[in-house]
C-alpha cells in the first residue's frame, strides 16, 4: 500500500482546523466551497482519454466516479473511472486520517481501464457494497467481500455495447437489487463529421444507430437475467443518464432515462412488476417548448418540498438545462420561472445533483460543465483547454434558484460528479472526474454545528428507495422536508446515499419519519445521535 500525502490532506486538514462559523444556515455562497484541482502531484489520479484524430465520440464523454464505503468503516472511498486503454487504470482511494491512500491493487480493482462509469450497490445482500463498472464492451460486476473485490461477468452483452450509466434499484419488489444499464450508440469509426469550419468534430449520436438499455433482474444470488419482453419493452435510444425513484408515490421504483438529443423515457413500474414507458404523456419527453434536448446528467430530489420527486437534466450549450417539477400526475418544465434558464445557455452540463449544500435543508443544485465540440476555426491541438468551463452552484431560495458566482476561476472539463461527505462533518463535499484532467475537490465549508446523519439499511444493505420526511421548526414555523435514499444520477457516477439533516441555532428537529423500501415506517428521531451518522435498519422498526 502506498500512502500519498496529497493536496487532499491539506485541504481536509486546513478545513478541520478552521473556526466554525456561528451560524450554519446563512453562509456566504462565495465561501461555501474550498476548491482544489488535484493537479500538482503527478502520482495522483489524472483522467486520460487523449483526443485522437479519429474524433471518436466517447473521447468527448469522459468518465465518472463512485463514492463507496467498501469496508463499512463509515468513511467513503472514491473510485475514479479511467478511460485510458494503454497506460493507466482506474483508481480507488481510501481516506485515513485525511490522507488519501491508493488501495486499488489490494482491493482487487487493479487493471480496470477503458471505464466510463461506475455504480454501487450490494447485489448479494452480504452487507458489503459491490461495484459495477462499465464502458464500451466493458461490464464488470466487482463483488465485494470484506473490502476485497472479485470480478464477475453478469451478462453476455452484444459486442459493441456502449454502456454509459447504471443504477441499482428494486424492479420487482423483492429483497434484491436489480440493475438498469443504459447504452448509447453503435460506434462506427468510419463515420466522419465536420464542423462549420470544415474541420473534424465529434459526430452527434444521431449519426449512429442507437442501442437499447438493459434491465437485468437479480436472481437472488447476485447473478442476473435480462428482463423478459412482457416485463418491459425498451426502445433504442442514445442514453447517457439514468435514475430510479418512486415518481408517483406508489412505493414502486420507476426509472427515468435521459437521452442525448432524443425524447427521454420514464418507465413506470406497475403493481404486477411490469414497466410502461410514458414520458410523453407525463410531459418529460421534451421541454416546455416541445424540443428534444441533449440530456446528459440527471438529478432527482424534492426541491420544493411537496413530497414529489422532481427531475433536473443537464444539456448541451445553446439549450438550457431543464427542471421538471413533479405535479403528481404529470411534470411541468419550470426551468425559466425557477431561474435556471438563461444562464445555462452557454454551458454544456454533465454531472449534477440535488443536495443541500449550505445547511438550510433546502435542496441546492450543482452542475459541472465542459464543452464537447471544438470551437470553430480553433486548432484541434488543445481541446481540453477549449472544452473547459466553470461549474455552477444554484442555491435554493425557495421560490427560485440563485446562481452563485464563486467558480469563475475554476474552469475544467467536468464530466462525472459525486456528492459525498468525505470527512463526515455533516455536509456534502463534491468531487468531479474531469475529462483528460486531474479531478476537482470542492470541500464544503458549511461544517454545521448541529446535524444528524442517517444511514438507512434494509436487507443487510443500504436501502435504496427508502424515503425520509423530517420536520424542522423555527419560531413556531414548521417546515417539512423530503428525501429519498439514492446513490444514482449525476453522470456515470455514484454518490454517498446518506441523508443529512442540519439544524441552525434557532431550529428544532420535530420528527423524522422513515418509510423503508419494505413499506415499514417509523419515527426515528429518538434514535438519532447528533453530529454523526446513525445506521437505522428496517428491522429496527
Amino acid at each position: 500500500m502506498i500512502k500519498l500525502i496529497t493536496q487532499i490532506v491539506l485541504v481536509l486538514s486546513v478545513a478541520a482546523c478552521s473556526e466554525k462559523p456561528s451560524e450554519t444556515s446563512n453562509k456566504n455562497d462565495e465561501s461555501l466551497f474550498t476548491i482544489t484541482q488535484l493537479d500538482s502531484d503527478p502520482s495522483l489520479f489524472i483522467h486520460q482519454q487523449k483526443f485522437s484524430i479519429d474524433f471518436e465520440i466517447h473521447e468527448a464523454l469522459g468518465s465518472g466516479l463512485a463514492s463507496i464505503d467498501i469496508d463499512n468503516d463509515g468513511i467513503y472511498e472514491l473510485f475514479f473511472a479511467q478511460y485510458d486503454k494503454n497506460h493507466t487504470s482506474s483508481v480507488l482511494y481510501k481516506f485515513e486520517n485525511g490522507v488519501a491512500v491508493d488501495i486499488t491493487k489490494e482491493s482487487g480493482l487493479g487493471d480496470l481501464n477503458a471505464i466510463m462509469g461506475a455504480s454501487s450497490g450490494d447485489v448479494n445482500n452480504d452487507g458489503w457494497a459491490d461495484l459495477i463498472v462499465y464502458g464500451i464492451d466493458q461490464l464488470h460486476l466487482m463483488i465485494n467481500t470484506k473490502g476485497k473485490f472479485d470480478v464477475k461477468h453478469i451478462y453476455a452483452f452484444e459486442s459493441g455495447s456502449f454502456f454509459t450509466s447504471a443504477t441499482f434499484f428494486n424492479a420487482n419488489n423483492d429483497e434484491h437489487l436489480d440493475l438498469w444499464l443504459s447504452r448509447y450508440v453503435e460506434m462506427n469509426k468510419e463515420k466522419v463529421c465536420k464542423g462549420t469550419d470544415g474541420l473534424r468534430l465529434f459526430c452527434s449520436p444521431s449519426a449512429y444507430p442507437f442501442q437499447k438499455d438493459l434491465l437485468l433482474i437479480n436472481n437472488g444470488d447476485g447473478t442476473y437475467k435480462k428482463a423478459l419482453e412482457d416485463v418491459i419493452t425498451i426502445p433504442a435510444s442514445p442514453a447517457l443518464g439514468v435514475v430510479a425513484a418512486d415518481f408517483n408515490n406508489d412505493n414502486l421504483q420507476d426509472v427515468f432515462v435521459a437521452n442525448d438529443g432524443q425524447n427521454n423515457f420514464l418507465f413506470t413500474q406497475q403493481p404486477d412488476g411490469s414497466f410502461i414507458e410514458g414520458a410523453e404523456i407525463k410531459g418529460l419527453s421534451s421541454n416546455l417548448a416541445g424540443l428534444k434536448e441533449a440530456s446528459m446528467g440527471v438529478a432527482i430530489g424534492d426541491y420544493d418540498n411537496d413530497g414529489l420527486m422532481d427531475l433536473f437534466l443537464t444539456h448541451l450549450e445553446q439549450e438550457t438545462n431543464t427542471l421538471y417539477k413533479n405535479e403528481n400526475k404529470w411534470f411541468s418544465d419550470v426551468t425559466n420561472t425557477m431561474g435556471l434558464g438563461a444562464h445555462s445557455r452557454n454551458s454544456t452540463g454533465f454531472g449534477t445533483g440535488f443536495y443541500d449544500l449550505n445547511g438550510d435543508n433546502w435542496l441546492d443544485l450543482f452542475i459541472v460543465n465542459g464543452k464537447i465540440q471544438p470551437i470553430a476555426y480553433q486548432s484541434r491541438e488543445n481541446l481540453t483547454k477549449q472544452f473547459s468551463e466553470k461549474p455552477m452552484l444554484y442555491i435554493n431560495k425557495k421560490n427560485t434558484f440563485a446562481l452563485s458566482e464563486s467558480f469563475n476561476d475554476h474552469r475544467v472539463v467536468g464530466r462525472g460528479l459525486t456528492f459525498v461527505d468525505i470527512d463526515n462533518d455533516g455536509d456534502k463535499d463534491i468531487i468531479s472526474n474531469n475529462n483528460n484532467q486531474s479531478p476537482s475537490l470542492l470541500r464544503n465549508n458549511t461544517n454545521p454545528d448541529n446535524w444528524y446523519g442517517l444511514n438507512l439499511r434494509c436487507n443487510n444493505r443500504i436501502d435504496y428507495g427508502a424515503k425520509v420526511e423530517f420536520t424542522v421548526s423555527e419560531s413556531d414555523k414548521k417546515t417539512l422536508f423530503y428525501r429519498n435514499v439514492h446513490a444514482d444520477g449525476s453522470y456515470a457516477s455514484a454518490s454517498d446515499p446518506r441523508i443529512i439533516i442540519t439544524l441552525g441555532d434557532q431550529t428544532l428537529l420535530e420528527s423524522v419519519i422513515i418509510r423503508f423500501s419494505n413499506n415499514q415506517s417509523n419515527n426515528v428521531k429518538s434514535l438519532l445521535l447528533a453530529n454523526s451518522y446513525t445506521s437505522i435498519n428496517c428491522s429496527d422498526s
Binding site: 425524447n263 410531459g283 416541445g290 400526475k329 411541468s332 420561472t337
Partner: protein
Amino acid sequence: MKFVFLLILSILALLTACSNESPEPIHFKQPNFNTINTTYWDYPSQQVFNSFMSIEFDGLSYANKRKMAEVLLTHNYSGEAITVLDSIDAVKSQYLVYLLLLANYTNGDFEKALDIFINEKSNKSNLPLVNLYYKILLELGRGKEVISHFVLNKHADFITNYYLALAYLQDNQCNKTIPLLTTVIDKNPNANKLYAPLATALQKCNRLQEANEARLKHGTIALPANDEFAQRLEKNGNPVKYTNELLRIATSQNDSTKIRGLSEQLIQYKYFSTELYVNYAIALRQARLLNQANLALFEAIKLNGSHEKSYQLLFEFNRASNKAIAKEAINNLIQLDPSNTLYKKAKNYLENSE
C-alpha cells in the same frame, strides 16, 4: 454603352437614397463578404476570420461588417460579433440592431441585450426584434414583462402570440395561454412542438383529457422539413435567415412569385448578395419585368464584377430586345474568359443579327 451603365447606376443611387439608410460608399478594393453563405460552411468564411484577426476591420464597409458579424455569430463567436457591430458608426438598420441583440443574448449579456431593445426606436413595431426580446425575457423567467410590453405593442405575428402564450403560462394564467396557443396551432397545424406547451396549459387548467390528447399529438405528428413555425423559432427569429430559408425552398420549387416577394423582403433588410440578385432577376424575367430584371443583374454585378452568370443572364435576357446591353454583357464575358468559344460565337451572332 457607358451611358447606359451610368444611367443605371444613377437609378440605383436614387433607389438607395429612397431607403431609410444613408447610401454607403462602394469599396471595390475591399474584400466582398456578400457571397459567403452563413448557414453552412464555405471556405470564404475563412476570409472573414482572417480579416477579423489580421486587418483593421474598422475600415470595412457597413455591408462587410454586417456580414462579418453574421459569420462570427454563425460560428458562435458572439463576443467578437459584438465588437464588429459596435464598431459601426452609421445609424444601424433594424436588422443590425436585431443582430446586436442576438449577439448579446448568445454571449450571455442578457441585461445589455434588453437595454438595446429598450433603447431602440422600433421596439414596438419591429417584430423580429420584439420576438427575440420576448424570448430573452421568458428565459429569464420574466414573463410578466412580456405581458406588460404586449399591452403597448400594436403588432403581433404568430411567433409573438406564441411567446405571449408562454408568458401567460409562466404567470399561471393557463386560461389565457390556451386560446392563444390554439390560434397559433390553427395557423401551424403541423408544428408538433406547439402541443407541448398547450398540454401543460391544459393540465394546469385541469383539462386533463384534452391535455393527454395534446401530449399524444406532440409525440405523433411528424413535423415537415420546411415547417414555418419551427424555421422561425429555431433561427432565433432571425428575419434574414428565415427569409433566406423560405427563399431556398421557393427556389427549389421554382416558385417565381414567392422568389420575387422574398427577395424584395431581403433587399428591404439591406441584405444583398450576388446570388440573391441573380435569382431575383430570373424571377422578374419570368414575370416579364425585363427592365427590373436588368436592374437586379446590374446590382449583382456591382457586388461582384466578375460574376459570369450575371453577364450570361444579361445577354440571355436582352439579346433579342436590347442588343446594346447584350453586347456589353458578352464583351464582359469574353474579357473574363477569353478562350471561351461559346462567348465568341454569341458575339458573332449578335453582330450578324444587327
